[in-house]
């Protein structure tokens, strides 16, 4: 047993130590990283630029009216979703990774399914089901003879609590996926040692596995919280006024794009603070695995009531986050007379799939480059640009789209002006209003997802391996290719598939940036669903969810086989 003692002390060699390895080639990585990260950060900088020119100072009005409420609501939403995704994600991940109980094999992949469900869709579906006018309350009134709202109490779905529940149900899989991968990659030795030292199952989770998995879990929860902040569809539909609502009011109704950008930047401040606090509390802890003894985890057999409790705990999120909404959508799609079936679906689906695949590829490639460069003894500038490049995830999609428009159009118009002057030819808009703009927007938006996943993968590789490779004369590129990539392939795939599913669901930026006559499944659903015509949009909505299932299943498979020493194909 060669458990690295550092893992317990939490003071492993820091990433910066790698720079001490003799040789060169770091610089090129750093320059490339700053260039790429700078490019990706452009939209955020463009938004900051816009913020310098508000049409009027909105803060006195906001501060004296709705701002305190917006801030409080945003914080409560984040607290609720953060706690919810942490408990459900980590709890279920631990159960399926470490215990044996009825249905475990099924849950391993099925727990990821809600990831395929867009937040705005699940909100539409549950509102239809649970609102006063919905079938559930209607049935209750029928049974108990109630007639008006005052006769009984029923939780209001269109509320902060409802928004927390909906977002938690579709976002917990981020935490689940990352936590499970980490639990599986942990050396069984660490856990066995903790058992021999007298820790029980749950104490092993609390004292050993959780602290070791903390970086990955933190990434998962942070992603969920950033989704919370950028979400507009769900909270708007539920009439929950978060800071995002403020951004849209100021922008669209007060015609003050600069003021809106200022609020968006304040929200970004929230996120940066959050990430900083989490990182700081981990300080210089680093957890790497050096053990190669990774025989399959036997799992603790749960019996009787405990086993069934575990089964129930894993069933519930799948049922609520996937099975129920999908059945309702399917019911609408096949039985409602207003369901819109259209041959154009096929084209929309192809657009969605193609964009998602391209975005996924782009996002993991860039994430790998950035994460690896950061590992090569990066200085502050490099690290700061990389951080800046991944905050796009917390910006509401429509606002980010404006941030993408500004530099793209500026580039196009500059080229056009130059060509007109020099050779008298107009090039028009080269990139704006093309798929390139969309792909760029997706990359900016979802880089945080792929970067988080890839960094988690790198983080588990001890620098001593790297040092050995470098000492043996490998360049950084060769080390990456021959050492890291094979070891982190699971994390890379996870990141790619997460971006894929996210892009399938993306709506606001797609709406603003897409080319003429171009629809994705999400934009097609939106034109009906935004108008209380859920039934009309049901077939397309079902298509979004169903085409999200395949990558989700691949994701389950990749996480399952990411454990070295596990036979391929077994979970």
């Amino acid at each position: 047993m060669t458990v690295e003692a550092d893992a317990f002390r939490g003071t492993g060699p820091s990433l910066d130590d790698v720079a001490a390895v003799p040789g060169n080639g770091h610089r090129r990585w750093h320059v490339a990283a700053v260039a790429v990260a700078g490019l990706v950060a452009l939209p955020v900088l463009a938004i900051a630029w816009t913020a310098l020119f508000p049409t009027e100072n909105i803060w006195p009005h906001l501060a004296s009216t709705v701002l305190p409420g917006y801030v409080l609501t945003s914080l409560l939403l984040m607290a609720g979703v953060g706690l919810g995704t942490f408990v459900i994600g980590t709890g279920t991940a631990w159960l399926v990774a470490m215990c044996r109980f009825p249905g475990k094999r099924l849950f391993e992949w099925a727990l990821l399914l809600p990831l395929a469900m867009p937040g705005y869709l699940i909100a539409y579906v549950y509102t239809d089901l649970l609102e006063f006018a919905g079938p559930l309350q209607g049935a209750l009134r029928e049974i108990f003879g109630w007639s008006t709202k005052r006769d009984y109490w029923f939780p209001e779905i269109r509320s902060l609590g409802g928004a927390i529940a909906m977002l938690t149900l579709v976002l917990y899989p981020y935490v689940y996926a990352l936590a499970r991968a980490t639990f599986l990659e942990q050396s069984i030795c660490v856990l066995e040692v903790s058992r021999t030292l007298g820790r029980g199952t749950w104490r092993a989770l609390r004292d050993v596995a959780l602290p070791l998995a903390r970086p990955a879990i933190a990434v998962g929860v942070t992603l969920a919280l950033m989704e919370c902040l950028n979400d507009f569809g769900t909270v708007d539909f539920f009439a929950v006024r978060t800071l995002t609502a403020g951004v849209f009011d100021v922008w669209l109704r007060m015609g003050n794009a600069g003021g809106a950008a200022q609020i968006a930047l304040v929200m970004l401040g929230f996120v940066v603070l959050l990430i900083w606090a989490e990182r700081r509390s981990r300080a210089r802890q680093r957890f790497h695995h050096t053990s190669s003894k990774l025989r399959p985890i036997e799992g603790i057999a749960l019996r009787g009531g405990r086993a069934w409790a575990a089964t129930a705990a894993c069933t519930l999120p799948i049922l609520l986050g996937f099975a129920v909404p999908v059945s309702i959508l399917a019911d609408y799609a096949f039985t409602s007379p207003s369901a819109e079936w259209s041959a154009a679906f096929f084209r929309h689906a192809l657009n969605s799939l193609g964009l998602s695949a391209s975005a996924a590829l782009l996002a993991v490639t860039l994430a790998t480059l950035l994460a690896y460069a950061a590992r090569q003894g990066a200085n502050r500038l490099v690290k700061a640009t990389i951080r800046l490049a991944s905050v796009g995830y917390a910006i509401p999609g429509a606002v980010l789209a404006i941030g993408v428009l500004i530099p793209f159009a500026a580039f196009d118009n500059t080229v056009d002006a130059f060509l007109r002057q020099t050779i008298g030819v107009s090039s028009g808009l080269i990139l704006s209003g093309t798929v390139a703009a969309l792909l760029f927007a997706y990359t900016v938006r979802f880089l945080a997802v792929s970067l988080g996943s890839v960094e988690a993968g790198f983080g588990r590789i001890t620098p001593s391996m790297e040092m050995a490779a470098r000492t043996l004369g490998h360049s950084p590129s060769a080390t990456l290719r021959r050492l890291h990539l094979p070891m982190i392939r699971g994390s890379v795939l996870t990141g790619g598939l997460l971006v894929f599913v996210d892009t399938m669901k993306e709506l606001p930026a797609t709406l603003v940036l897409r080319p003429f006559n171009f629809d994705t499944l999400a934009t097609f659903v939106y034109q009906y669903a935004s108008d209380e015509r859920l039934a009309a949009s049901a077939p397309a909505a079902l298509a979004i969810v169903l085409s999200g299932i395949i990558p989700v299943l691949l994701l389950a498979r990749s996480v399952g086989s990411s454990r070295p020493g596990t036979r391929r194909g077994t979970y």
Binding site: N351, A357, N413, R489, E532
Partner: protein, 344 residues
């Protein structure tokens, strides 16, 4: 597995790349480019009729937010020729952003009455919509409510449903109230309406009528064409059947608050001639009849027949407050909604 997966991803990516370049906007053919804030299913019948009549193809991008910003960023090279939108405030936004050019057309001026277009030709209204009160057939007597002002009457406590006070249509109504009564009176009114709400403002105009059906409230505010659309929808027919549409009066006049949907030509319009053809077509009898029959809106062109369904609700007088006054008071109205805390 990674290798095959990556291969598959690459394959799809390439396939899409070819697909996409195929759907790009060709510049040679006869066509016109539309940025639309209106939903595709609403404008498709019109564009189809336009193509049949003129042979000009329309390319459309639909988005509810960010269209004006997109045009601003794209600048002189923007491919957009016309912008289609609802709400006078949105039309005004485009004008103020400087992305619109004035249009002079005898056809447009003949088809559209002067109060429905900008004197300088920067925007033209195409349809008119009235903001109605939908009153429960069972629980509200005919004639029990006749004005917007009465919505603040305490007798309606806990009986009114509306969508968000920040929605364009409610903001325009509030702006009209400010224009008629002044800020202080209008704010008092809004506070009164808020006190009468049955639930936190939420959902769409249709959703409010649904709430009346389920007994959650007795009065709802909504645009007139939703009533027609609900009657035409097999599922929503039941919602519409429980309410009477009321044309409320505003500011002691005998007139009802109206808003418009409209069109404007972009400053950069590369296909100017075709854009003008489209605008003129949209104001023609043929298009105005489609607006009336398929979308249940009121045509702006005098003499165009209303849809029989719309006709059956009776004639009404539209408030003659200039649309520009509503657009100007929009920001004040939004701030009032914040001050009153209407959305809760």
């Amino acid at each position: 597995m990674i290798r095959t997966l990556t291969g598959a991803m690459f394959g799809t990516a390439m396939a899409v790349a070819t697909l996409v370049t195929g759907t790009g906007v060709a510049s040679a053919a006869e066509e016109v480019n539309v940025y639309s804030l209106r939903q595709p299913f609403l404008i498709e019948p019109l564009l189809k009729a336009f193509a049949e009549q003129t042979g000009i193809k329309t390319n459309v991008v639909f988005a509810k937010e960010g269209v004006v910003e997109r045009m601003k960023a794209e600048g002189a090279n923007s491919p957009a020729d016309v912008i289609l939108t609802v709400d006078i405030g949105r039309l005004n936004d485009a004008v103020e952003a400087g992305v619109i050019q004035p249009v002079k057309s005898a056809t447009l001026e003949a088809n559209i009455p002067a109060n429905f277009r900008d004197p300088e030709g920067r925007w033209f209204a195409l349809t008119q919509r009235a903001r109605l009160i939908y009153a429960s057939k069972d629980r509200v007597k005919l004639g029990e409510i006749t004005s917007y002002e009465e919505l603040a009457d305490p007798k309606w406590k806990g009986r009114i449903c509306t969508r968000s006070g920040k929605h364009d249509y409610n903001v325009a109504l509030l702006a009209a109230m400010i224009a008629h009564h002044g800020e202080a009176k209008a704010e008092e009114w809004l506070n009164g309406v808020k006190a009468n709400l049955a639930r936190k403002p939420q959902g769409s105009d249709r959703g409010q009528v649904k709430a009346v059906m389920e007994g959650e409230c007795d009065l709802a505010i909504g645009n007139n064409y939703y009533y027609g659309a609900m009657l035409a929808d097999p599922e929503q027919k039941a919602w519409a059947n429980v309410v009477n549409p009321v044309f409320p009066t505003i500011g002691g006049t005998k007139a009802t608050h109206v808003n418009v949907s409209g069109v404007a030509m972009t400053a950069s319009a590369p296909n100017r001639a075709n854009a003008l053809k489209l605008m003129e077509f949209l104001s023609s009898d043929a298009a105005q009849e489609i607006y009336a029959s398929a979308d249940f809106e009121y045509p702006v062109k005098p003499g165009v027949k209303w849809s029989p369904v719309v006709e059956s609700w009776g004639r009404f007088t539209a408030d003659d407050l200039p649309l520009s006054a509503i657009a100007e008071l929009r920001s004040a109205a939004v701030k009032m909604v914040d001050r009153v805390g209407y959305d809760g």
